[in-house]
Subunit: 107 residues, 2 copies
Amino acid sequence: MKVRRDIFQAIADPTRRAILTLLAFQALTPNTIAEHFDTTRQAVSKHLKILSECELVKYRQQGREIIYELEIDKMKEIDLWLEQFRKIWETKFNQLDSVLSTFRINK
Amino acid sequence: MKVRRDIFQAIADPTRRAILTLLAFQALTPNTIAEHFDTTRQAVSKHLKILSECELVKYRQQGREIIYELEIDKMKEIDLWLEQFRKIWETKFNQLDSVLSTFRINK
DNA sequence: AACTTGTGCAATCAAATAATTGCATGTATA
DNA sequence: TATACATGCAATTATTTGATTGCACAAGTT
């Protein structure tokens, strides 16, 4: 839990990915989140810390509770990284597509 | 380098992400890949092993060289995971869109 | 056959990670 | 004000990770 603080590093952990999925449905408190996992509240708290350091989640105090919610914009950065590969698979798909249509023509 | 062998874990490492980007342009041998990094050939070799265990790359022997190439299909799994969040940010965008058009109507 | 080249694998080590336990703090409620 | 609840932070520990060094081996070259 030191210097990395990188989105890709953040989503590498399956628990953190599950937390993000949970928060995609609704904003929740650390305690409620922890109930969904077979681990201690403190462990979840650490995951939340990492996620908020990466700005994948944000939180607001509400009385004595803290509500965590997804910060969807940061997710787009992963999408952005994928873009370079998406180009390739779309090209491949188009190539396959033209092969298929040629096939049809020859039939 | 044990049991995990998970795509998200694989792309967590910056060197591995860079290798994937390199391979997006062309298939390369381990030695050529290593030249691009400030690290030993063996370290790169380990990264390649992890990447191929995850099926993010594949390789073929060519004489005494081994050619590694991107296995683009596996990348789509990351895209698939992002799907659940993409839905959200597209909704938000649409909401913004309707706010903007209302604004225009009222002007 | 001897040598060079390209590569993987094993052992080792430092650093990072994830989880636990215990403690501290702030906010409500009796 | 005393108590209970929600949460974060620190210290500790086991596991995992990433890198290095050295060795083995197979495929070409001389």
